[in-house]
Amino acid sequence: MSLTREGIAYRVAQDLPEGAYVNLGIGIPSLVGRFLPADKEIFLHSENGLLGFRSADHDERDPHLVNANKDPVVLLPGAAVFDHAWSFTMIRGGHLTHTVLGALEVAANGDLANWRVSAQQVPGVGGAMDLAAGVRNVWVAMTHVTPQGRPKIVERCHFPLTAPRCVKRIYTDLAVIDVTPEGLVLREVCPGMTPQAVQELTGAPLTVASDCRTMTLPQEFEGLALVAEGGPAA
């Protein structure tokens, strides 16, 4: 079994503590907002100067309320709006407790590559380097391997770095892995996966935590996991 994109986002959301100040990147991370536990106050931050919002329903759209992904949002009671200098003071000054980012690759030492695939493209960096360099807990949410089946967790990044040694935890469709000074530590595996199977799809050595467990998925959500025949979700 492997997690869907929603399943990865769900799993990340479970680990955000009460009172967390969180910036969500594009892709899988942007789905985390859907699964925030209702019993915790968690404050979403967006680069364009919003703190304390949720995704908007279609009938709530306000032309002046979009997040950095240009998705419509609504402000919660207690929200605040500010300029880009204050917004990046929050990011770079270590005031945000968490950011969840997508990745092309993560290295065993926590190096993150998520901003540029090839020199042929138009490059764009946005706030990725500020988030990676500044936020206290940089978590990555991504598929474990590329659509071609190549591991995205590697000894050394081949793509250009976003920031060195910044990632603290990796959530994939197969596993939850901590980046520690002693290397990668496997904390959880998907139902039906073994640590050995995860290691085979990982490009760097994993230490299996003594309390490594099989993650449990809730009944109340549908579509969090695939019982895949052809392997993990791409």
Partner: protein, 221 residues
């Protein structure tokens, strides 16, 4: 009596010239001074250096200026989205230069220009391609990249409300880069959705004090 209100966007940008460096506010659509940008496009001035977060969208505002080839160089953080096709086409043909800057560094360089600072050290981009060729300094055990201030000939910004003294308020996500750019150009022109009487903005809630703003022009619905 001080009166910074200008009749229309064409009058507001009438003295802009070829080769100028222009800051453009906005993050996506909110806070983008699109009517001012359309007026610049109508003037057809060229060889411009643009400082903005993005590269414009579709055939609108900055996107339209890109389409018409008015821009020589773009200093921005995020030009790689589908709607920025006008920039992309010219960039891939080598017709426009790009200086890519991390978004927080871009905001801080603009703020530094407005605040009279020469430059600053940021941890962002240390150990990456975007630090190449830049001074790296260790301060209190952490590495930082040196970045210089940005200052422009003109800033084109957008606000929700403005008065004849140039005091401005933004609404929600309109704010973004606008207050910073208002501080960092020799000539600052604000497009506003509403002109309000002096004294109607509570002093504690003015987002951009009038000292930073030279011209205010009403958005034409």
């Amino acid at each position: 009596m001080v009166n910074k209100i200008v009749a229309d966007c064409d009058a507001a940008v009438a003295d802009l010239k070829d080769g100028m460096t222009i800051m453009v506010g906005g993050f996506g659509d909110p806070g983008a001074p699109n009517q001012l940008l359309d007026a610049v496009r109508r003037r057809g001035i060229r060889d411009l250096v643009i400082i903005a977060n993005g590269a414009g969208s579709e055939d609108i505002g900055l996107g339209g200026m890109m389409k018409d080839g008015l821009v020589r160089k773009l200093i921005c953080s995020f030009p790689n989205y589908p709607q920025a096709w006008a920039f992309r086409e010219r960039y891939l043909k080598g017709e426009v230069e790009l200086e890519l800057v991390p978004q927080g560094t871009l905001a801080e360089r603009i703020r530094a220009g407005g605040a009279g600072l020469g430059g600053f050290y940021t941890p962002t981009a240390v150990g990456t391609d975007l630090a190449q060729g830049k001074e790296v300094r260790t301060i209190n055990g952490r590495q930082y990249v040196f970045e210089t201030a940005l200052y422009a000939d003109v800033a084109l910004i957008k606000a929700a409300k403005g008065d004849r003294l140039g005091n401005l308020r933004y609404r929600y996500a309109m704010r973004n880069f606008n207050p910073l750019m208002a501080s960092a150009a020799a000539l600052v022109i604000a497009e506003v959705d509403e002109v309000v009487p002096v004294g109607s903005l509570p002093p504690d809630d003015v987002h951009t004090p009038g000292i930073f703003v030279d011209r205010v022009v009403l958005y034409q619905a």
